[in-house]
Amino acid sequence: MTALQKLATGLAAGTIRVVDLTHTLDPDFPVIVLPPEFGQCARFRMEEVSAYDHRGPAWKWHNISMSEHTGTHFDAPSHWISGRDVPLGSVDEIPPERFVGSVCVIDCSDQAEADADFLLNPGHIAEWEATHGQIPPGAWVLMRTDWSKRSGAAYLNMHEEGPHSPGPAAEAIRFLVEQRDITGFGTETVGTDAGQGMHLSPPYPAHYILHGAGKYGLQCLANLSELPPTGAILMAAPLKIKNGTGSPLRVLAMVET
């Protein structure tokens, strides 16, 4: 049997399960909020065009609108100023093989529950590698915080001094990019950076370092608690938007049961 035949057999037999890591595109799903004088991320909106009625008797359809960075979405290198000159830096240019790969899941859910401002640092990664082995080159690394189980105001967790949510420290991202050559980094929060990431150095280190190095980001992921620390395959293909800096997408993982 070829590898793909084995895969098909496993999927049919249920020994390989497909896990949906995507939030539903919903008008009420939070988006990142910037100071009001800056341009804002468009919320997901849906307008009915017809619904088997006088506007179109046999069909129902909607016009939808949103930002490239609304809902569960992919960040391309061109999203950040550090990645503006990276070759193949927009979603339409990224080679498709980069959208499928092995995935390492670092469970920070206990720390995130104890501290909304928890920062993943290289020490935590070293601990994870001591148990699960070294992160292989080209892997996706996902930071599990169970933040996707929050809803409403608790998701952004916005206070007067800004949002509070966990994310990576600059050193951790630098380690993953420079020492492990990952494909990308993903989170369950509204961005790849911590809620207070603008106060780190460099500001928004995950965005700055990942995209400057041609790496990708995934955010607003869900169901990371259903993934094993290693061994799953991630599929995250953004829409092919000309010069797009990102895209809402359906993120799936294949998991051996």
């Binding site: 008008p27 009420d28 804002q40 919320r43 809803s151």
Partner: protein
């Protein structure tokens, strides 16, 4: 003295809701000048430019010298009630359903004798004042009222037919984030509104004023005017008990066309200020129009708060002004579409409001209490057009005098030094 208007009993679910009927609407073109004055709450009559004779009813040539030059002027509304009678039945459905109806003959101090509606508190042959009011057909009618203010005179059944008084009515305020909302709630409660629903968009964001609003005893409901589904959901549940809708949703950023360089904020302005109004009207309009004859707490009014820039735009807030001009144009269509049911559209034009987005502008600015007062006063008087604050009043006056001169004034670029 007028009997106090009693709160309506809970609606009997086994009786049919009364369909709206209307008083006669047809007027001559000359008479529409009276409706235009009534829309703003003014008492105006034609005064002959040649011989100064005050005219009534409105006409095309002076009753004294036949001059066709008959400009509308604000004149004294005072006079004396010469005769009065009570009509107990009528072939007209609207009046038949509302009989008895008091009418009379008033001699104005300014000269003419007019046939008019008569408030229950007017003493026979006593001094009266004429109020120029819009009836449910949206046309001017004259109502004689006592010259001295009487207790509860707003409860007079004939007067109540012509106003949009919040007393005993239920009000929907569409966006809790407008800075004038707390003052508006206070003013509506003082005016006797029984229930106030306040729409709250994006409940996933912190809302600093939320706790204060909740303490004021209002019913906070999720509502985002940019989300059709959200508007439809609230209308499905509350459309049938919204008697007055006040649209406070506003998206505002400074800047004209070139100051911005993109269309992102302009799109938000259109989404909220223009399409938001349209979504609300499509969702709430039909239910409100069906309930304009539904007793003491019938649906009466739809209130838009618009920037006076809608009349004549300038670049400081040019894109926002354009979205308000679109909303003003839409409100005229809406006015016509609601008119058949007798639901009144009241536009409140305001100058710069005293909040964050107008912070760099010097005074005078419109404070929350002043805006709330203007809205409630307009509802109590049954107005269609309200100017709130000196800036809006001045703009409106200049617009009426000459729109092109106003445009020239507002679009000057300034001389080079």
């Amino acid at each position: 003295m007028t009997d106090a208007l009693q709160p309506p009993p809970k609606k009997n679910p086994q009786t049919r809701t009364v369909s709206p009927t209307r008083p006669p609407e047809r007027r001559s073109r000359a008479t529409l000048g009276l409706s235009a004055a009534a829309a703003e709450g003014r008492f105006a009559l034609q005064v002959c430019a040649d011989c100064q004779t005050v005219q009534y009813p409105p006409r095309d040539a002076c009753r004294s010298c036949l001059s066709p030059d008959l400009p509308w002027r604000d004149v004294s509304p005072d006079g004396a009630l010469l005769a009065e009678t009570t009509v107990r039945t009528s072939p007209n459905l609207y009046f038949r359903e509302r009989a008895p109806w008091r009418t009379g003959l008033v001699r104005l101090d300014a000269g003419p004798v007019v046939i008019c509606h008569v408030h229950g508190d007017c003493a026979p042959r006593g001094p009266v004042r004429l109020w120029n009011l819009l009836d449910r057909a949206g046309q001017a009618v004259l109502l004689a009222v006592p010259q001295e203010r009487m207790p509860r005179m707003e409860d007079d059944p004939q007067l109540r037919q012509m106003t949009s008084d919040p007393k005993h009515r239920r009000v929907l305020i569409t966006d809790a984030r407008h800075p004038a909302v707390p003052a508006l709630i206070k003013a509506l409660k003082a005016a006797g509104a029984v229930e106030i629903y306040v729409g709250e968009p994006e409940t996933w964001r912190p809302s600093p004023g939320r706790a204060a609003l909740a303490e004021m005893g209002v019913d906070l409901q999720p509502l985002d005017v940019t989300d059709t589904g959200s508007v439809q959901r609230l209308a499905a549940e509350y459309g049938g008990k919204t008697d007055i809708l006040i649209n406070t949703a506003r998206f505002l950023r400074p800047g004209g066309v070139l100051a911005r360089g993109d269309t992102a904020f302009a799109r938000d302005e259109i989404e909220v200020n223009y399409l938001g109004l349209m979504r609300l009207a499509q969702a709430f309009g039909p239910a409100m129009c069906a309930r304009t004859a539904d007793g003491v707490n019938s649906a009466v009014a739809w209130v838009n708060i618009l920037s006076a820039d809608a009349l004549s735009n300038a670049p400081d807030y040019g894109c926002f002004g354009a979205s308000n001009a679109a909303a003003l144009a839409l409100s005229q269509s809406l006015r016509a579409e609601f008119r058949g049911a007798g639901l009144r559209v009241m536009n409140v034009l305001t100058g710069p409001t005293d909040d964050a987005w107008y912070q760099p502008l010097p005074p005078p600015k419109v404070g929350p209490a002043a805006l709330a007062r203007a809205i409630v006063d307009g509802l109590q008087r049954g107005l269609e057009d309200v100017c709130c604050g000196d800036v809006a009043r001045d703009m409106h006056e200049r617009f009426r005098r000459d729109p092109k001169v106003l445009e020239c004034e507002r679009t000057m670029a300034g001389d080079q030094p």
